[in-house]
């Protein structure tokens, strides 16, 4: 079926079954490959996108459930929080293999958008669903604090 999708500031018409996870529409139909497939069961967070600004696991989010909501992917994040998070990630060289990092960044932006000054415990609680097999977690924590400081400055 034809579905209108508001994504990254544009409206795109895509052809997909209603139950198709948003992830595969983004990746295979719209060719935006920054959002990753890691588990397909909302257990690793690699597929995290923003739906109306809220982090969501796109691998279990049916495309038909998006409706009028705005989808934002890693390719188009541009809020001050997003810029600070990306800059902090680069400054601290958080990434290793990098495959989960789009999802980590999308979650971190979500955290800083709702909590400008998170504690270590806040970070652990919010980021607990984003797995990183390279175990870059210590740097993720540090980069979120750094981004928070950048936003404050």
């Amino acid at each position: 079926m034809a579905i209108q999708l508001k994504i990254n500031g544009e409206t795109k018409e895509v052809n997909a079954d209603a139950d198709t996870p948003l992830l595969w529409v983004i990746r295979d139909e719209l060719n935006m490959t920054g959002t990753k497939f890691g588990c397909g069961v909302a257990s690793c967070g690699s597929c995290t996108v923003h739906i109306d600004g809220q982090p969501q696991r796109s691998c279990v989010f049916p495309v038909s459930a998006v409706g009028e909501a705005e989808v934002t992917t890693i390719e188009a994040v541009s809020t001050p929080q997003a810029k600070a998070v990306q800059a902090a990630w680069q400054e601290l060289d958080v990434v290793q293999c990098g495959y989960c990092q789009s999802g980590q960044i999308m979650s971190a932006i979500g955290l800083l958008s709702s909590n400008a000054k998170p504690s270590d415990e806040d970070i652990d609680a919010y980021m607990g669903g984003n797995a990183c097999r390279c175990a870059t977690y210590q740097r993720i924590r540090a980069a979120i604090h750094r981004a928070s400081d950048m936003l404050e400055a």
Binding site: D17, T20, D28, R133, C134, A135, R139
Partner: protein, 732 residues
């Protein structure tokens, strides 16, 4: 193993036509250079580029190793940039194609593994940079009519007196010169980039903006997506299949038996349709050669083998049982049985690759390719193509931990089978799901070990009898000759037989056999031997009534370099962690030290116990001696990551089987380490002038025993069967 490809074609495909000075090595390892385009030097020797400099002065380094996060794109680039005195932002990086010229000098073929990337490239990539520098300097000297030694080069600018110009201005003239055979390399005192803290990673920007390309992101024209329905049991083969309602899935294209009967390929127009359609397919399997054992049976078989006389007398000291008996009857002795589970690598990017036909009648593989030396000839043989008709394009790999390096090239073989079954005219993209990954075999093997140790009157270890039962990783594979000697797979006993400790050891080994494929998993045999050795050293120290650090040092002769480096990291980690050997209320500290991949790592882990007895891992202090740390921040990152990867596995990971079928379906059943588990990690690097050694793996082996020893210190529980959570430990 020879692989070859059309060199001229490579520069075309990477769009590097404007490169004007190309420096590299030919197959015999000699430096060679040319101008852009033709990859033959002035003497018509074919070679492959390692460094390319275009006429705008941009330098591109081609890395012969793939990047799975371990930092090679940064590391190899640093080596070239150092010798050329480049501005860091002036250097770009690309992946080398598949070609024997790019062999890993530690392996003799192109591949990444064994924590060898920096070590084997250290001189080679510096030579490439130094040769390019020397040619540019000579070209400038010629143009200016001055002596070459009056010309200096820094940050892409050549100068002599009043003469000044960009390196880009001289690439054409430099390319007409012959490289010197052995260009002079900088002395360590002159390093500006090597050892600098910190040089930004080359892959950070792309990986934080969603623009880094992994093989999973590749889409080529005329491509179908493929999933495979595999035998639920290892060793099962396909008898027949029914497509069921698969055709009712939108986007379904076809389903075909793989020519090697390994499964059914399901073709579709999208990944999702290929995943969905697979659920409708039913298959019948021939299980006559399949393994139907469950984990309980396997554990019992391992135990039986552990109790029987070992097949191999690794140390050549004769009757192991007699040594054990004598050791056990000593006044002070310890003994323990260890059991290690199967582990999956579970890299974040599920396995996948793309194979497409080329205009020349060959094929091109798009892959985060770890072992081109195996994959390239394997694809050529199956497709019945000469090797030069096979090309490999390498992408960032979303982790590997050993999984993508595989003597059987398992997922590439699946992809080429699926490609050929469809006629070889359409590109295929093979995608594994996480369920496929966890059930897909090639696990870290199980291992059962038993040690019996006696303490002599001098308070030192008088006898150490050790038996190991393990499934050999290397037997029957392409690297068997390198690893197996007189029946003993070295990797089944590494870290024990070659420990730097001065120990009177007697070692026996028995192989376990199974059709289930096993594979190296980050740090290979050290992932088990690090645990046994360092838990045992703690137990022995206790039996001897000695401090764990003092006891370990008593078994090292620091006049020997190897042992001094081992002792050095042990002392450094102890000092930095504030080790005092005193008990702490509600807390515990454990220490472990291990040598692997020619690097030395000691780790101290501090845990606390809450009122319900659950453990929190609070802090880790690491000390590493890896020779010269080319990129100290990458070294730190690898130590942090290897420690975390090791802890997660030791805490709670295991692959188990019921009647030959894997029990774990997805991450909820094989829970990765989470941010909530990760301690604060501090890494201290020993300053060194020795050649660089590995850092991707050596941080892992000490992590588990340091944790186990800390748990013992805090709770009195000595855990020798893993994972910890299945054996009486609860984490907060």
């Amino acid at each position: 193993m020879k692989t070859s490809m059309n060199r001229r074609n490579f520069l075309k495909t990477t769009g590097a036509i404007s490169a004007s000075l190309v420096v590299g090595f030919n197959t015999s390892g000699a430096l060679a250079a040319s101008d852009s385009g033709a990859q033959t030097d002035t003497l018509s020797n074919a070679f492959n580029p390692f460094v390319m400099i275009d006429d705008s002065g941009v330098v591109t380094v081609l890395t012969k190793h793939f990047e799975m996060g371990q930092g090679t794109t940064t590391g190899l680039t640093t080596l070239v940039a150092e010798e050329m005195d480049l501005d860091w932002s002036q250097v770009k990086v690309g992946f080398a194609p598949s070609h024997d010229d790019y062999k890993n000098l530690a392996f003799g073929g192109q591949g990444t593994g064994g924590s060898t990337a920096i070590g084997n490239s250290y001189t080679q990539y510096r030579q490439a940079g130094a040769a390019a520098r020397d040619m540019l300097v000579r070209a400038a000297a010629d143009a200016w009519g001055v002596e070459a030694d009056s010309v200096s080069m820094s940050e892409g600018i050549l100068s002599s007196g009043d003469n000044k110009g960009s390196i880009g201005d001289f690439v054409k003239a430099a390319a007409a010169l012959k490289p010197v055979a052995e260009p002079a390399l900088k002395s360590m005192a002159d390093f500006k980039l090597i050892g600098k803290d910190k040089l930004p990673r080359k892959d950070s920007f792309a990986k934080t903006t969603g623009t880094a390309t992994f093989a999973m992101d590749v889409k080529v024209p005329n491509m179908v997506y493929v999933t495979i329905l595999r035998s639920p049991k290892f060793g099962g083969t396909l008898k027949s299949f029914e497509a069921g309602d698969a055709a009712s899935v939108n986007g379904f294209v076809d389903a075909k038996a793989l020519p090697n009967k390994a499964g059914v390929a399901i073709y579709a127009n999208s990944t999702w349709a290929a995943i969905k359609a697979r659920k409708s397919i039913t298959a019948e399997w021939d299980d006559s050669g399949a393994d139907a054992r469950g984990t309980a049976e396997m554990v019992s078989e391992y135990t039986d083998k552990l109790n029987a006389d070992p097949t191999y007398d690794v140390t050549g000291k004769g009757d192991l049982a007699a040594v054990e008996k004598a050791a056990a009857s000593a006044e002070k002795s310890v003994s323990a049985d260890f059991m290690f589970p199967l582990l999956a690598h579970a890299p974040m990017e599920p396995l996948n690759c793309v194979i497409e036909p080329t205009a020349e009648g060959g094929l091109r593989l798009h892959d985060g390719c770890q072992f081109p030396m195996i994959t390239h000839p394997t694809l050529a043989a199956i497709a019945e193509l000469p090797p030069e008709k096979v090309e490999i394009e390498t992408y960032y790999a979303g982790g590997s931990f050993g999984r993508r390096a595989n003597g059987a090239s398992d997922y590439h073989v699946e992809a080429i089978m699926a490609y050929l079954a469809l006629g070889g005219t359409k590109a295929v993209k093979l995608v594994w799901t996480r369920e496929d990954d966890l059930a897909g075999g090639f696990y870290r093997p199980m291992s059962a070990q038993r040690a019996t140790i006696s303490i002599g009157d001098d308070g030192k270890i008088a006898n150490w009898a050790h038996r190991t039962v393990a499934q050999s990783i290397f037997k029957g594979g392409p690297l068997e000759g390198m690893a197996v000697h007189e029946g003993v797979d070295h990797f089944s006993v590494e870290g024990i037989v070659d420990t730097p400790y001065q120990l009177p050891m007697s070692i026996g080994l028995t192989d376990y056999e199974s059709p289930m494929p096993v594979l190296w998993w980050r740090s290979v045999g050290h992932s088990q031997s690090g645990y046994t050795m360092e838990v045992l050293m703690d137990m022995a120290a206790e039996a001897a009534g000695a401090d764990p650090v003092e006891f370990r040092l008593a078994h090292l002769d620091e006049s020997v370099e190897d042992q001094a480096r081992f002792a050095g990291v042990l002392k450094l980690a102890a000092e930095k962690s504030g080790w005092d050997g005193k008990p702490m209320k509600g807390k515990g500290r454990g220490i472990a030290v291990h040598k692997s991949f020619n690097s030395y790592v000691a780790e101290v882990i501090e845990v606390s116990v809450n009122d319900k007895g659950a453990i929190s891992i609070d802090k880790a202090t690491c000390a590493v001696d890896c020779g010269i740390a080319v990129n100290p921040d990458v070294v730190r990152a690898q130590l942090e990551g290897a420690l975390g990867y090791g802890l997660g596995a030791i805490m709670r990971n295991q692959v188990t089987m019921t009647d030959g079928v894997v029990d774990q379906k997805n991450f909820p059943d094989y829970e990765p380490l989470r941010i909530t588990d990760m301690p604060d990690v501090e890494v201290h690097i020993v300053e060194s002038e020795l050649a660089p050694s590995g850092v991707g793996e050596p941080g892992l082996p000490p992590a588990g025993p340091a944790l186990a020893n800390a748990i013992y210190a805090a709770t009195g529980k000595r855990i020798t069967k893993l994972p910890l959570e299945s054996n009486g430990v609860t984490f907060a």
